[in-house]
Protein backbone atom coordinates (compact mmCIF):
# COMPACT_ATOMS: atom_id res chain seq x y z
CA UNK A 1 0.00 0.00 0.00
CA UNK A 2 3.02 2.27 0.28
CA UNK A 3 3.43 4.85 -2.39
CA UNK A 4 7.18 4.61 -2.84
CA UNK A 5 8.38 3.48 -6.25
CA UNK A 6 8.77 -0.23 -6.54
CA UNK A 7 10.48 -2.21 -9.31
CA UNK A 8 8.15 -2.84 -12.24
CA UNK A 9 8.74 -6.54 -11.99
CA UNK A 10 7.35 -6.84 -8.46
CA UNK A 11 3.64 -7.68 -8.65
CA UNK A 12 1.15 -5.40 -6.91
CA UNK A 13 -0.16 -6.70 -3.56
CA UNK A 14 -3.34 -8.74 -3.40
CA UNK A 15 -6.07 -6.57 -1.86
CA UNK A 16 -9.14 -8.78 -2.34
CA UNK A 17 -8.89 -12.42 -1.45
CA UNK A 18 -11.78 -14.89 -1.34
CA UNK A 19 -11.22 -18.42 -0.09
CA UNK A 20 -13.96 -21.07 -0.22
CA UNK A 21 -16.77 -18.56 -0.30
CA UNK A 22 -20.31 -19.96 -0.12
CA UNK A 23 -23.53 -17.98 -0.19
CA UNK A 24 -26.51 -20.21 0.45
CA UNK A 25 -30.15 -19.14 0.57
CA UNK A 26 -32.88 -21.36 2.04
CA UNK A 27 -32.24 -24.84 3.37
CA UNK A 28 -32.99 -28.49 2.60
CA UNK A 29 -34.69 -29.07 -0.73
CA UNK A 30 -35.16 -25.33 -1.27
CA UNK A 31 -31.46 -24.63 -0.84
CA UNK A 32 -29.99 -22.30 -3.43
CA UNK A 33 -26.22 -21.96 -3.71
CA UNK A 34 -25.68 -18.49 -5.13
CA UNK A 35 -21.94 -18.97 -4.61
CA UNK A 36 -20.62 -22.48 -4.44
CA UNK A 37 -17.03 -22.41 -3.26
CA UNK A 38 -15.35 -19.45 -4.89
CA UNK A 39 -11.60 -18.78 -4.57
CA UNK A 40 -10.40 -15.51 -5.95
CA UNK A 41 -7.57 -13.01 -5.59
CA UNK A 42 -7.45 -9.51 -7.07
CA UNK A 43 -4.35 -7.34 -6.97
CA UNK A 44 -4.24 -3.60 -6.45
CA UNK A 45 -4.80 -1.66 -9.67
CA UNK A 46 -6.40 -4.49 -11.60
CA UNK A 47 -9.40 -3.91 -13.86
CA UNK A 48 -11.57 -7.01 -13.54
CA UNK A 49 -14.79 -7.75 -15.38
CA UNK A 50 -17.24 -10.24 -13.87
CA UNK A 51 -19.41 -12.04 -16.41
CA UNK A 52 -22.03 -14.73 -16.41
CA UNK A 53 -25.70 -15.38 -17.10
CA UNK A 54 -28.31 -14.12 -14.67
CA UNK A 55 -28.41 -16.25 -11.55
CA UNK A 56 -24.81 -17.29 -12.01
CA UNK A 57 -23.75 -15.61 -8.78
CA UNK A 58 -21.85 -12.70 -10.28
CA UNK A 59 -23.95 -10.08 -8.46
CA UNK A 60 -23.72 -11.98 -5.19
CA UNK A 61 -19.96 -12.15 -5.59
CA UNK A 62 -19.90 -8.44 -6.32
CA UNK A 63 -22.04 -7.66 -3.23
CA UNK A 64 -19.71 -9.65 -1.01
CA UNK A 65 -16.64 -8.00 -2.54
CA UNK A 66 -18.34 -4.65 -1.88
CA UNK A 67 -19.15 -5.56 1.74
CA UNK A 68 -22.85 -5.08 1.05
CA UNK A 69 -23.41 -8.73 1.91
CA UNK A 70 -21.68 -11.37 3.99
CA UNK A 71 -20.88 -14.93 2.88
CA UNK A 72 -22.52 -17.98 4.49
CA UNK A 73 -19.12 -19.65 4.72
CA UNK A 74 -15.56 -19.02 3.70
CA UNK A 75 -13.20 -16.15 4.29
CA UNK A 76 -12.97 -12.86 2.48
CA UNK A 77 -9.91 -10.76 3.19
CA UNK A 78 -10.00 -7.10 2.26
CA UNK A 79 -6.55 -5.50 2.51
CA UNK A 80 -5.56 -8.57 4.49
CA UNK A 81 -8.37 -8.24 7.04
CA UNK A 82 -10.99 -10.99 7.28
CA UNK A 83 -14.25 -9.10 6.91
CA UNK A 84 -16.56 -12.08 6.36
CA UNK A 85 -17.91 -11.96 9.92
CA UNK A 86 -17.98 -8.23 10.57
CA UNK A 87 -21.04 -6.40 11.89
CA UNK A 88 -23.05 -4.41 9.33
CA UNK A 89 -21.87 -1.13 10.84
CA UNK A 90 -18.24 -2.15 10.50
CA UNK A 91 -18.93 -3.11 6.88
CA UNK A 92 -20.53 0.31 6.42
CA UNK A 93 -17.35 1.97 7.65
CA UNK A 94 -15.29 -0.10 5.19
CA UNK A 95 -17.56 1.02 2.34
CA UNK A 96 -17.42 4.59 3.57
CA UNK A 97 -13.63 4.79 3.53
CA UNK A 98 -12.38 2.24 0.98
CA UNK A 99 -15.05 1.70 -1.65
CA UNK A 100 -16.98 3.48 -4.33
CA UNK A 101 -20.09 2.15 -6.04
CA UNK A 102 -21.47 2.73 -9.53
CA UNK A 103 -24.82 1.18 -10.38
CA UNK A 104 -26.67 0.36 -13.56
CA UNK A 105 -29.53 2.69 -12.61
CA UNK A 106 -27.15 5.47 -11.45
CA UNK A 107 -28.87 5.68 -8.03
CA UNK A 108 -28.46 9.39 -7.53
CA UNK A 109 -30.70 11.15 -4.98
CA UNK A 110 -33.40 12.50 -7.30
CA UNK A 111 -34.03 15.97 -5.90
CA UNK A 112 -30.47 16.78 -4.92
CA UNK A 113 -28.21 18.59 -7.39
CA UNK A 114 -25.09 16.96 -8.78
CA UNK A 115 -22.76 18.65 -6.32
CA UNK A 116 -24.91 17.52 -3.38
CA UNK A 117 -24.92 13.96 -4.65
CA UNK A 118 -21.14 13.92 -4.98
CA UNK A 119 -20.75 15.49 -1.52
CA UNK A 120 -22.86 12.79 0.14
CA UNK A 121 -20.07 10.27 0.96
CA UNK A 122 -18.02 13.12 2.44
CA UNK A 123 -21.00 14.09 4.63
CA UNK A 124 -20.89 10.62 6.14
CA UNK A 125 -17.12 10.95 6.58
CA UNK A 126 -17.75 14.10 8.60
CA UNK A 127 -15.85 16.43 6.27
CA UNK A 128 -16.61 20.14 6.83
CA UNK A 129 -18.80 21.88 4.24
CA UNK A 130 -16.11 24.05 2.62
CA UNK A 131 -13.68 21.16 2.13
CA UNK A 132 -16.54 18.95 1.01
CA UNK A 133 -17.63 21.40 -1.65
CA UNK A 134 -14.11 21.84 -3.02
CA UNK A 135 -13.46 18.10 -3.22
CA UNK A 136 -16.85 17.40 -4.81
CA UNK A 137 -16.28 20.10 -7.41
CA UNK A 138 -12.86 18.66 -8.21
CA UNK A 139 -14.42 15.20 -8.61
CA UNK A 140 -17.09 16.62 -10.94
CA UNK A 141 -14.40 18.32 -12.98
CA UNK A 142 -12.52 15.02 -13.23
CA UNK A 143 -15.57 13.56 -14.98
CA UNK A 144 -15.92 16.73 -17.11
CA UNK A 145 -19.12 17.91 -15.41
CA UNK A 146 -17.78 20.92 -13.51
CA UNK A 147 -20.27 23.16 -15.30
CA UNK A 148 -23.28 21.03 -14.34
CA UNK A 149 -22.76 21.05 -10.58
CA UNK A 150 -26.09 22.75 -9.93
CA UNK A 151 -28.22 20.46 -12.09
CA UNK A 152 -30.56 17.90 -10.53
CA UNK A 153 -30.45 14.36 -12.01
CA UNK A 154 -33.64 14.85 -14.04
CA UNK A 155 -31.92 17.69 -15.92
CA UNK A 156 -29.00 15.45 -16.90
CA UNK A 157 -28.69 12.83 -19.63
CA UNK A 158 -28.08 9.18 -18.74
CA UNK A 159 -24.39 9.45 -19.51
CA UNK A 160 -24.08 12.61 -17.44
CA UNK A 161 -25.90 10.99 -14.52
CA UNK A 162 -23.54 8.03 -14.65
CA UNK A 163 -20.58 10.42 -14.66
CA UNK A 164 -22.00 12.14 -11.56
CA UNK A 165 -22.30 8.68 -9.97
CA UNK A 166 -18.65 7.96 -10.87
CA UNK A 167 -17.62 11.29 -9.34
CA UNK A 168 -19.56 10.33 -6.19
CA UNK A 169 -17.80 6.95 -6.10
CA UNK A 170 -14.35 8.48 -6.48
CA UNK A 171 -14.66 11.59 -4.32
CA UNK A 172 -13.53 9.69 -1.21
CA UNK A 173 -10.47 8.40 -3.10
CA UNK A 174 -11.34 4.75 -2.49
CA UNK A 175 -8.98 1.90 -3.25
CA UNK A 176 -11.76 -0.16 -4.84
CA UNK A 177 -14.40 0.87 -7.35
CA UNK A 178 -17.30 -1.55 -7.79
CA UNK A 179 -19.40 -1.08 -10.88
CA UNK A 180 -22.58 -3.10 -11.40
CA UNK A 181 -23.45 -3.00 -15.10
CA UNK A 182 -22.41 0.67 -15.31
CA UNK A 183 -23.32 0.90 -19.00
CA UNK A 184 -26.45 -1.26 -18.88
CA UNK A 185 -28.81 1.71 -19.24
CA UNK A 186 -26.76 3.63 -21.80
CA UNK A 187 -26.55 3.64 -25.59
CA UNK A 188 -23.42 2.25 -27.23
CA UNK A 189 -21.68 5.59 -27.86
CA UNK A 190 -22.29 6.83 -24.31
CA UNK A 191 -21.26 3.43 -22.94
CA UNK A 192 -17.95 3.80 -24.81
CA UNK A 193 -17.43 7.25 -23.27
CA UNK A 194 -18.08 5.93 -19.77
CA UNK A 195 -15.66 3.05 -20.28
CA UNK A 196 -12.90 5.37 -21.53
CA UNK A 197 -13.54 7.60 -18.52
CA UNK A 198 -13.23 4.64 -16.14
CA UNK A 199 -10.05 3.50 -17.84
CA UNK A 200 -8.42 6.90 -17.72
CA UNK A 201 -9.43 7.41 -14.07
CA UNK A 202 -7.96 4.02 -13.23
CA UNK A 203 -4.67 4.91 -14.89
CA UNK A 204 -4.48 8.32 -13.20
CA UNK A 205 -5.51 7.16 -9.73
CA UNK A 206 -4.22 3.56 -9.66
CA UNK A 207 -7.54 2.36 -8.38
CA UNK A 208 -8.84 -1.21 -8.52
CA UNK A 209 -12.00 -1.71 -10.55
CA UNK A 210 -14.34 -4.69 -10.37
CA UNK A 211 -17.15 -4.44 -12.90
CA UNK A 212 -20.11 -6.72 -13.49
CA UNK A 213 -21.30 -6.81 -17.09
CA UNK A 214 -22.88 -9.23 -19.49
CA UNK A 215 -21.68 -7.46 -22.63
CA UNK A 216 -18.44 -8.89 -24.06
CA UNK A 217 -17.69 -5.50 -25.72
CA UNK A 218 -17.67 -3.82 -22.34
CA UNK A 219 -15.75 -6.66 -20.69
CA UNK A 220 -13.10 -6.23 -23.38
CA UNK A 221 -12.05 -2.98 -21.68
CA UNK A 222 -10.90 -4.99 -18.65
CA UNK A 223 -7.58 -6.79 -18.41
CA UNK A 224 -9.04 -9.83 -16.70
CA UNK A 225 -12.43 -11.51 -16.99
CA UNK A 226 -14.07 -13.77 -14.38
CA UNK A 227 -16.77 -16.04 -15.81
CA UNK A 228 -19.40 -17.37 -13.40
CA UNK A 229 -21.80 -20.27 -14.01
CA UNK A 230 -24.10 -21.70 -11.32
CA UNK A 231 -22.23 -20.07 -8.48
CA UNK A 232 -18.82 -21.31 -9.59
CA UNK A 233 -15.93 -19.45 -11.12
CA UNK A 234 -15.41 -21.33 -14.38
CA UNK A 235 -12.93 -19.08 -16.22
CA UNK A 236 -10.37 -16.57 -15.03
CA UNK A 237 -8.20 -14.94 -17.67
CA UNK A 238 -7.77 -12.13 -20.15
CA UNK A 239 -10.80 -11.05 -22.24
CA UNK A 240 -11.67 -13.46 -25.01
Amino acid sequence: MSSHARPAAEPAPVILEMAGIFKIYGSGAAEVRALDGVDLAIRAGEFVAVMGPSGSGKSTCMNILGCLDVPTAGSYRFHGVDVSALHRDELALLRRHYMGFVFQSFNLLPRVHALGNVELPLVYQGVRPAARRARALAALEAVHLGDRAGAVPSQLSGGQQQRVAIARALVTEPSLLLADEPTGNLDTATAGDIMSLLESLRRERRITIVMVTHEPDIAAHAERVLQFVDGRLVRDGPPA
Binding site: L68, D89, A92, R95, R96, N107, P121, V123, Y124, Q125
Partner: protein, 402 residues
Protein backbone atom coordinates in the same frame (compact mmCIF):
# COMPACT_ATOMS: atom_id res chain seq x y z
CA UNK B 1 -21.16 12.39 10.48
CA UNK B 2 -21.55 15.88 11.98
CA UNK B 3 -24.83 16.40 13.89
CA UNK B 4 -25.48 19.63 11.98
CA UNK B 5 -25.43 17.67 8.71
CA UNK B 6 -28.05 15.27 10.10
CA UNK B 7 -30.21 18.26 10.97
CA UNK B 8 -29.71 19.82 7.52
CA UNK B 9 -30.70 16.57 5.80
CA UNK B 10 -33.83 16.30 7.97
CA UNK B 11 -34.88 19.90 7.35
CA UNK B 12 -34.32 19.50 3.60
CA UNK B 13 -36.43 16.35 3.55
CA UNK B 14 -39.23 18.18 5.38
CA UNK B 15 -38.96 21.18 3.04
CA UNK B 16 -39.12 19.00 -0.04
CA UNK B 17 -42.73 18.07 0.69
CA UNK B 18 -44.13 21.16 2.34
CA UNK B 19 -47.85 20.43 2.14
CA UNK B 20 -47.43 16.93 3.44
CA UNK B 21 -45.13 18.10 6.22
CA UNK B 22 -47.64 20.77 7.22
CA UNK B 23 -50.53 18.31 7.28
CA UNK B 24 -48.42 15.90 9.32
CA UNK B 25 -47.53 18.61 11.81
CA UNK B 26 -51.15 19.79 11.91
CA UNK B 27 -52.08 16.98 14.28
CA UNK B 28 -49.42 18.16 16.71
CA UNK B 29 -50.36 21.82 16.15
CA UNK B 30 -53.98 21.16 17.06
CA UNK B 31 -52.99 18.91 19.96
CA UNK B 32 -50.57 21.36 21.56
CA UNK B 33 -52.86 24.33 20.92
CA UNK B 34 -55.81 22.60 22.58
CA UNK B 35 -53.76 21.47 25.57
CA UNK B 36 -52.49 25.01 26.03
CA UNK B 37 -55.92 26.61 25.63
CA UNK B 38 -57.75 24.14 27.86
CA UNK B 39 -55.29 24.22 30.71
CA UNK B 40 -54.85 27.99 30.56
CA UNK B 41 -58.58 28.65 30.45
CA UNK B 42 -59.04 26.27 33.34
CA UNK B 43 -56.44 28.14 35.36
CA UNK B 44 -58.03 31.47 34.44
CA UNK B 45 -61.44 30.28 35.53
CA UNK B 46 -60.06 28.99 38.83
CA UNK B 47 -58.29 32.28 39.41
CA UNK B 48 -61.45 34.21 38.63
CA UNK B 49 -63.47 32.11 41.05
CA UNK B 50 -60.96 32.54 43.86
CA UNK B 51 -60.72 36.29 43.35
CA UNK B 52 -64.48 36.51 43.20
CA UNK B 53 -65.03 34.61 46.41
CA UNK B 54 -62.37 36.62 48.17
CA UNK B 55 -64.20 39.82 47.27
CA UNK B 56 -67.43 38.61 48.83
CA UNK B 57 -65.94 38.56 52.30
CA UNK B 58 -65.29 35.93 54.89
CA UNK B 59 -68.21 36.34 57.27
CA UNK B 60 -70.86 35.25 54.81
CA UNK B 61 -72.74 31.97 55.02
CA UNK B 62 -74.96 30.48 52.33
CA UNK B 63 -77.85 28.34 53.55
CA UNK B 64 -79.33 26.21 50.78
CA UNK B 65 -81.65 23.23 50.65
CA UNK B 66 -79.80 20.05 49.69
CA UNK B 67 -81.09 16.59 48.96
CA UNK B 68 -82.81 14.18 51.31
CA UNK B 69 -83.17 10.43 51.33
CA UNK B 70 -86.88 10.65 51.84
CA UNK B 71 -87.73 9.57 48.31
CA UNK B 72 -89.30 6.21 47.54
CA UNK B 73 -86.94 3.44 48.65
CA UNK B 74 -84.50 5.94 50.12
CA UNK B 75 -83.79 7.60 46.76
CA UNK B 76 -82.29 11.04 46.91
CA UNK B 77 -84.75 13.77 46.06
CA UNK B 78 -84.42 17.55 46.31
CA UNK B 79 -85.17 18.60 49.87
CA UNK B 80 -88.01 20.88 50.87
CA UNK B 81 -87.19 24.53 50.17
CA UNK B 82 -87.02 27.05 52.99
CA UNK B 83 -89.76 29.46 53.94
CA UNK B 84 -89.61 33.01 55.15
CA UNK B 85 -90.32 31.69 58.64
CA UNK B 86 -86.97 29.88 58.57
CA UNK B 87 -85.13 33.13 57.92
CA UNK B 88 -87.05 34.84 60.67
CA UNK B 89 -86.29 31.97 63.05
CA UNK B 90 -82.55 32.18 62.37
CA UNK B 91 -82.54 35.91 62.90
CA UNK B 92 -84.52 35.48 66.15
CA UNK B 93 -82.71 32.50 67.65
CA UNK B 94 -79.11 32.71 66.49
CA UNK B 95 -77.42 35.67 68.15
CA UNK B 96 -75.24 38.09 66.21
CA UNK B 97 -76.45 37.50 62.65
CA UNK B 98 -78.22 39.32 59.85
CA UNK B 99 -80.26 37.15 57.48
CA UNK B 100 -81.31 37.97 53.93
CA UNK B 101 -83.66 35.40 52.42
CA UNK B 102 -83.65 35.28 48.65
CA UNK B 103 -85.75 33.92 45.81
CA UNK B 104 -84.63 34.51 42.24
CA UNK B 105 -86.47 34.31 38.99
CA UNK B 106 -85.46 35.43 35.55
CA UNK B 107 -87.86 37.85 33.92
CA UNK B 108 -88.11 40.39 31.16
CA UNK B 109 -88.19 44.02 32.26
CA UNK B 110 -89.67 46.67 30.00
CA UNK B 111 -89.33 50.42 30.16
CA UNK B 112 -90.65 52.44 27.25
CA UNK B 113 -89.34 50.77 24.13
CA UNK B 114 -86.42 49.07 25.85
CA UNK B 115 -86.56 45.60 27.29
CA UNK B 116 -83.98 43.46 29.00
CA UNK B 117 -83.84 39.93 30.28
CA UNK B 118 -82.61 39.99 33.86
CA UNK B 119 -82.41 38.02 37.07
CA UNK B 120 -84.94 39.32 39.56
CA UNK B 121 -84.02 38.69 43.17
CA UNK B 122 -86.62 38.93 45.90
CA UNK B 123 -85.09 39.74 49.27
CA UNK B 124 -85.18 42.11 52.23
CA UNK B 125 -83.24 45.23 53.16
CA UNK B 126 -80.74 42.98 54.92
CA UNK B 127 -79.42 42.11 51.45
CA UNK B 128 -77.53 45.41 51.13
CA UNK B 129 -75.52 44.72 54.25
CA UNK B 130 -75.17 40.96 53.98
CA UNK B 131 -74.07 40.90 50.33
CA UNK B 132 -72.01 44.06 50.78
CA UNK B 133 -73.87 45.70 47.91
CA UNK B 134 -75.12 49.16 48.99
CA UNK B 135 -77.46 51.52 47.18
CA UNK B 136 -75.96 54.16 44.94
CA UNK B 137 -78.95 56.43 45.38
CA UNK B 138 -82.69 56.28 46.12
CA UNK B 139 -83.98 54.48 49.17
CA UNK B 140 -84.28 50.92 50.47
CA UNK B 141 -87.63 49.16 50.75
CA UNK B 142 -90.06 50.52 53.37
CA UNK B 143 -90.86 47.94 56.10
CA UNK B 144 -94.47 48.11 54.98
CA UNK B 145 -93.48 47.35 51.39
CA UNK B 146 -91.54 44.29 52.51
CA UNK B 147 -94.40 43.08 54.73
CA UNK B 148 -97.05 43.49 52.09
CA UNK B 149 -95.08 42.57 48.99
CA UNK B 150 -95.51 45.93 47.31
CA UNK B 151 -94.66 46.44 43.62
CA UNK B 152 -91.44 48.37 44.11
CA UNK B 153 -87.96 47.62 42.83
CA UNK B 154 -84.33 48.61 43.05
CA UNK B 155 -82.36 48.24 39.84
CA UNK B 156 -78.74 47.65 38.86
CA UNK B 157 -76.51 50.11 37.01
CA UNK B 158 -76.58 48.28 33.67
CA UNK B 159 -80.35 48.66 33.43
CA UNK B 160 -80.03 52.35 34.16
CA UNK B 161 -77.42 52.71 31.43
CA UNK B 162 -79.23 50.60 28.86
CA UNK B 163 -82.84 51.60 29.38
CA UNK B 164 -83.01 55.07 30.82
CA UNK B 165 -80.47 56.92 28.72
CA UNK B 166 -80.68 60.44 30.16
CA UNK B 167 -83.85 60.01 32.20
CA UNK B 168 -83.69 59.42 35.94
CA UNK B 169 -85.04 56.02 36.91
CA UNK B 170 -86.23 57.04 40.39
CA UNK B 171 -90.03 57.17 40.54
CA UNK B 172 -90.44 55.69 37.05
CA UNK B 173 -92.57 52.64 36.42
CA UNK B 174 -90.78 49.53 35.20
CA UNK B 175 -92.67 46.48 34.03
CA UNK B 176 -91.15 43.33 35.54
CA UNK B 177 -92.79 40.28 33.98
CA UNK B 178 -96.44 41.25 34.20
CA UNK B 179 -96.06 43.49 37.20
CA UNK B 180 -95.69 47.26 36.99
CA UNK B 181 -93.15 48.32 39.60
CA UNK B 182 -92.08 51.66 40.90
CA UNK B 183 -88.31 52.14 40.91
CA UNK B 184 -87.24 53.41 44.31
CA UNK B 185 -83.48 52.95 44.22
CA UNK B 186 -80.37 52.13 42.20
CA UNK B 187 -77.65 49.70 43.33
CA UNK B 188 -74.01 50.71 43.28
CA UNK B 189 -72.06 49.34 40.35
CA UNK B 190 -70.31 46.00 40.92
CA UNK B 191 -68.97 45.42 37.46
CA UNK B 192 -68.57 42.15 35.63
CA UNK B 193 -67.20 38.96 37.08
CA UNK B 194 -66.70 35.60 35.40
CA UNK B 195 -68.50 36.80 32.30
CA UNK B 196 -71.53 37.74 34.33
CA UNK B 197 -72.77 41.33 34.62
CA UNK B 198 -73.57 41.77 38.30
CA UNK B 199 -75.30 45.09 37.61
CA UNK B 200 -77.84 43.48 35.37
CA UNK B 201 -80.18 42.79 38.24
CA UNK B 202 -83.48 43.84 39.82
CA UNK B 203 -84.21 43.60 43.54
CA UNK B 204 -87.77 43.39 44.84
CA UNK B 205 -89.29 42.58 48.23
CA UNK B 206 -89.24 38.81 48.52
CA UNK B 207 -92.98 38.55 48.97
CA UNK B 208 -93.48 40.42 45.69
CA UNK B 209 -91.36 37.90 43.82
CA UNK B 210 -93.04 35.00 45.60
CA UNK B 211 -96.54 36.12 44.74
CA UNK B 212 -96.23 37.88 41.42
CA UNK B 213 -93.33 36.17 39.64
CA UNK B 214 -92.79 32.74 41.17
CA UNK B 215 -96.26 31.92 42.38
CA UNK B 216 -94.88 30.01 45.36
CA UNK B 217 -93.74 30.83 48.87
CA UNK B 218 -90.26 29.29 48.68
CA UNK B 219 -86.91 30.74 49.65
CA UNK B 220 -84.02 29.53 47.44
CA UNK B 221 -81.19 30.56 49.64
CA UNK B 222 -80.55 32.49 52.80
CA UNK B 223 -77.52 34.73 53.08
CA UNK B 224 -76.37 34.95 56.68
CA UNK B 225 -73.74 37.37 57.85
CA UNK B 226 -72.02 36.91 61.18
CA UNK B 227 -71.74 40.34 62.73
CA UNK B 228 -68.64 39.54 64.77
CA UNK B 229 -65.47 38.34 63.06
CA UNK B 230 -64.44 34.80 63.95
CA UNK B 231 -67.91 33.69 65.00
CA UNK B 232 -68.73 32.12 61.65
CA UNK B 233 -68.10 28.49 62.77
CA UNK B 234 -70.28 28.98 65.87
CA UNK B 235 -73.01 30.60 63.78
CA UNK B 236 -72.79 27.76 61.28
CA UNK B 237 -73.31 25.17 64.03
CA UNK B 238 -76.21 27.11 65.53
CA UNK B 239 -77.96 27.41 62.18
CA UNK B 240 -77.50 23.70 61.50
CA UNK B 241 -78.95 22.77 64.90
CA UNK B 242 -81.86 25.13 64.48
CA UNK B 243 -82.71 23.97 60.97
CA UNK B 244 -82.48 20.28 61.90
CA UNK B 245 -84.97 20.96 64.63
CA UNK B 246 -87.27 22.99 62.38
CA UNK B 247 -87.09 20.43 59.59
CA UNK B 248 -87.59 17.57 62.04
CA UNK B 249 -84.49 15.63 61.11
CA UNK B 250 -84.00 12.66 63.42
CA UNK B 251 -80.70 12.51 65.35
CA UNK B 252 -78.16 10.58 63.31
CA UNK B 253 -79.90 11.28 59.99
CA UNK B 254 -78.00 13.46 57.57
CA UNK B 255 -78.82 17.10 56.88
CA UNK B 256 -81.06 17.84 53.93
CA UNK B 257 -79.61 21.34 53.63
CA UNK B 258 -76.17 22.91 53.35
CA UNK B 259 -74.65 25.70 55.34
CA UNK B 260 -71.54 26.81 53.51
CA UNK B 261 -69.18 29.59 54.21
CA UNK B 262 -67.43 31.34 51.34
CA UNK B 263 -64.35 29.17 51.73
CA UNK B 264 -66.44 26.03 51.25
CA UNK B 265 -67.97 27.53 48.15
CA UNK B 266 -64.60 28.60 46.84
CA UNK B 267 -63.22 25.13 47.45
CA UNK B 268 -66.17 23.48 45.75
CA UNK B 269 -65.94 25.76 42.73
CA UNK B 270 -62.22 25.31 42.53
CA UNK B 271 -62.63 21.55 42.65
CA UNK B 272 -65.13 21.77 39.83
CA UNK B 273 -62.94 23.94 37.63
CA UNK B 274 -59.93 21.79 38.41
CA UNK B 275 -61.82 18.66 37.43
CA UNK B 276 -62.89 20.35 34.23
CA UNK B 277 -59.33 21.45 33.53
CA UNK B 278 -58.00 17.95 34.00
CA UNK B 279 -60.77 16.49 31.88
CA UNK B 280 -60.36 18.94 29.02
CA UNK B 281 -56.60 18.67 29.28
CA UNK B 282 -56.90 14.89 28.97
CA UNK B 283 -59.06 15.21 25.88
CA UNK B 284 -56.51 17.60 24.42
CA UNK B 285 -53.71 15.18 25.28
CA UNK B 286 -55.55 12.48 23.36
CA UNK B 287 -55.59 14.73 20.31
CA UNK B 288 -51.83 15.17 20.75
CA UNK B 289 -51.52 11.39 20.77
CA UNK B 290 -53.55 11.21 17.56
CA UNK B 291 -51.18 13.79 16.09
CA UNK B 292 -48.27 11.54 17.01
CA UNK B 293 -49.88 8.60 15.28
CA UNK B 294 -50.28 10.82 12.21
CA UNK B 295 -46.54 11.50 12.29
CA UNK B 296 -45.75 7.81 12.59
CA UNK B 297 -48.08 7.02 9.69
CA UNK B 298 -46.50 9.56 7.37
CA UNK B 299 -42.98 8.65 8.42
CA UNK B 300 -43.71 4.98 7.64
CA UNK B 301 -44.98 5.99 4.19
CA UNK B 302 -41.94 8.18 3.76
CA UNK B 303 -39.54 5.37 4.67
CA UNK B 304 -41.17 3.09 2.10
CA UNK B 305 -41.07 5.80 -0.55
CA UNK B 306 -37.46 6.55 0.17
CA UNK B 307 -36.28 2.94 0.43
CA UNK B 308 -33.96 3.46 -2.52
CA UNK B 309 -32.53 6.63 -1.04
CA UNK B 310 -31.86 4.68 2.16
CA UNK B 311 -30.18 1.96 0.09
CA UNK B 312 -27.92 4.55 -1.55
CA UNK B 313 -27.00 6.04 1.81
CA UNK B 314 -26.23 2.60 3.24
CA UNK B 315 -24.08 1.67 0.22
CA UNK B 316 -22.17 4.91 0.52
CA UNK B 317 -21.34 4.09 4.11
CA UNK B 318 -24.19 5.21 6.37
CA UNK B 319 -24.33 3.14 9.53
CA UNK B 320 -27.53 1.94 11.22
CA UNK B 321 -27.27 4.79 13.69
CA UNK B 322 -26.81 7.39 10.90
CA UNK B 323 -30.04 6.38 9.18
CA UNK B 324 -31.89 5.96 12.48
CA UNK B 325 -30.90 9.46 13.63
CA UNK B 326 -31.71 10.96 10.26
CA UNK B 327 -35.34 9.77 10.38
CA UNK B 328 -35.70 10.33 14.10
CA UNK B 329 -34.45 13.90 13.75
CA UNK B 330 -36.84 14.40 10.86
CA UNK B 331 -39.86 13.39 12.93
CA UNK B 332 -38.66 15.34 15.97
CA UNK B 333 -38.14 18.47 13.84
CA UNK B 334 -41.64 18.01 12.40
CA UNK B 335 -43.26 17.62 15.80
CA UNK B 336 -41.17 20.43 17.30
CA UNK B 337 -42.23 22.83 14.55
CA UNK B 338 -45.80 21.66 15.17
CA UNK B 339 -45.30 22.25 18.88
CA UNK B 340 -44.01 25.80 18.39
CA UNK B 341 -46.84 26.73 16.03
CA UNK B 342 -49.35 25.05 18.34
CA UNK B 343 -47.98 26.97 21.29
CA UNK B 344 -48.29 30.27 19.44
CA UNK B 345 -51.84 29.50 18.30
CA UNK B 346 -52.78 28.22 21.75
CA UNK B 347 -51.50 31.34 23.51
CA UNK B 348 -53.26 33.66 21.03
CA UNK B 349 -56.50 31.72 21.37
CA UNK B 350 -56.23 31.80 25.16
CA UNK B 351 -55.61 35.53 25.11
CA UNK B 352 -58.61 36.11 22.84
CA UNK B 353 -60.86 33.84 24.88
CA UNK B 354 -59.92 35.38 28.22
CA UNK B 355 -60.49 38.84 26.77
CA UNK B 356 -63.90 37.79 25.47
CA UNK B 357 -64.97 36.01 28.66
CA UNK B 358 -63.52 38.73 30.86
CA UNK B 359 -61.28 36.24 32.67
CA UNK B 360 -57.82 37.04 33.98
CA UNK B 361 -55.07 36.01 31.52
CA UNK B 362 -52.98 33.61 33.56
CA UNK B 363 -49.67 32.68 31.95
CA UNK B 364 -48.54 29.22 32.92
CA UNK B 365 -44.94 28.56 31.82
CA UNK B 366 -45.26 25.03 33.19
CA UNK B 367 -48.12 24.24 30.83
CA UNK B 368 -46.26 25.77 27.90
CA UNK B 369 -43.14 23.78 28.67
CA UNK B 370 -45.23 20.66 29.14
CA UNK B 371 -47.07 21.10 25.83
CA UNK B 372 -43.84 21.79 24.00
CA UNK B 373 -41.88 19.03 25.69
CA UNK B 374 -44.66 16.58 25.06
CA UNK B 375 -44.65 17.38 21.35
CA UNK B 376 -40.91 16.73 21.15
CA UNK B 377 -41.41 13.52 23.11
CA UNK B 378 -44.17 12.46 20.70
CA UNK B 379 -41.77 13.05 17.81
CA UNK B 380 -39.22 10.71 19.38
CA UNK B 381 -41.80 8.14 20.42
CA UNK B 382 -43.67 7.89 17.15
CA UNK B 383 -40.64 8.54 14.96
CA UNK B 384 -38.73 5.65 16.45
CA UNK B 385 -40.54 2.76 14.79
CA UNK B 386 -40.30 4.22 11.26
CA UNK B 387 -36.67 5.24 11.84
CA UNK B 388 -35.83 1.75 13.07
CA UNK B 389 -37.50 0.27 10.03
CA UNK B 390 -35.38 2.50 7.79
CA UNK B 391 -32.14 1.83 9.64
CA UNK B 392 -32.47 -1.94 9.52
CA UNK B 393 -33.14 -2.20 5.80
CA UNK B 394 -30.84 -4.53 3.93
CA UNK B 395 -28.75 -2.33 1.61
CA UNK B 396 -28.99 -4.73 -1.33
CA UNK B 397 -32.78 -5.07 -1.12
CA UNK B 398 -33.16 -1.33 -0.58
CA UNK B 399 -31.07 -0.56 -3.67
CA UNK B 400 -33.20 -2.88 -5.80
CA UNK B 401 -36.46 -1.37 -4.49
CA UNK B 402 -38.53 0.20 -7.23
Amino acid sequence: MRPVDTLVIAVQAIGRNKLRSFLTALGIIIGVASVVVMVHLGRSATRAVTEEIASIGSNLLFVMPGTSQRGPGGLRIPAEPFELADAEAIEREVPGVVVAPSLSRSATVVYGNANESVSVEGTTNAYFEVRNHPLAYGRPFEPAEVRSGAAVCIIGQTLVDDMYLDATPLGSTLRVGRTACRVVGVLSAKGTSMGQDRDRTVLMPIKTVQRRLAGELDVNVMYVSALVDGTTPRVQDDIEALLRQRRRIAPGAEDDFNVRDTQDVADALERTTNTLTVLLGAIAAVSLLVGGIGIMNIMLVSVTERTREIGIRLAIGARTADVLTQFLVESVVLSTIGGIIGLAIGMSATWLATAQLDLPFVLSPGTMALGFGFSVFIGVLFGFIPARKAAHLNPIDALRHE
